[in-house]
Symmetry: C2
Subunit: 201 residues, 2 copies
Amino acid sequence: MAGATAGPEIERLIQLLARLPGLGPRSARRAALHLIKKREALMAPLAAALQTAIDKVEVCKVCGSIDTQNPCTVCADARRDRAVIVVVADVADLWALERAHATNGLYHVLGGTLSPLDGVGPQDLAIGALVSRAHGPEVKEIILALNATVDGQTTAHYITDLLHEANVKVTRLAHGVPVGGELDYLDEGTLAAAIRQRTLF
Amino acid sequence: MAGATAGPEIERLIQLLARLPGLGPRSARRAALHLIKKREALMAPLAAALQTAIDKVEVCKVCGSIDTQNPCTVCADARRDRAVIVVVADVADLWALERAHATNGLYHVLGGTLSPLDGVGPQDLAIGALVSRAHGPEVKEIILALNATVDGQTTAHYITDLLHEANVKVTRLAHGVPVGGELDYLDEGTLAAAIRQRTLF
């Protein structure tokens, strides 16, 4: 699009930026221009940061998270509670739980959820590794922190069945009213669950 | 945010991505994860494309556009009509006009618009260079393709005054109904201009 007037190198940069989630063709052009205008302040540091990430980032051999050390910072942290493993679909979910300081346990990243429609079966996820970890002598609880979607809950049920033989408690996230949420805007399923799982005031 | 759990290198990558227009902190995290997951297919090519742009992109010494050749592709193109110079505020506007195949003339990039509130004066824009070019023997028309905003129109008036002595016709973009636009949603100023500048059917 801009290629005819700005050289194939800039066009290629725009096309690559457009493949980032959240950027379309138009915003990719704006981003490319912004980078070119801020060559020293932004483009050079970003190129260097990408190269560093390419060189250093690894998948944690224990939990499947990504980090520049292996095992990852969480798995290597002696203050973490090794009795609890929080199962998430994706590293993004792990990051979200960490930002919320929601748990002091360890994690296990499945790499997705079961989805027959998308051809994602158990062999595509790190479920075998989870079962192995769940049989570890320290582990007492597996918290399934999966999306409250059909695929997420299907995956949760599948894992719960597999962990039947392991000597662990399997739990899942509470359903309920989001903090700051208004009842009027919530669906019936959430409201029913919030009543059912009510807690003492 | 993700730093405590994913290493300072990933955190730095996220912070740099968050400075791109169109990406906030949350989408920058998603973009970083996407890049890390597509290390070979996307992250490595993007790092290389950025480095190429850092090494090769220059500001055209004639028109102020950016390109990997200097003078830029447009200025160097012998098929372009050297009698017409289209004045734009920004390279993004030049790209937009090129995508529309709106003109076969040359361009002149001002680098912004006059904006007293933001402290942008004539000395901050490539206005002197434009006046020099307008005095060139080949030049017959200067098209002011500036935003239909207060700052854009102030800049257009300022330039028109300066070009009074040059032997050129100074024109500006037509106001009117955008192609595909519905009258009901247009402001009164646009509608009045569209009537005033009506054309024969």
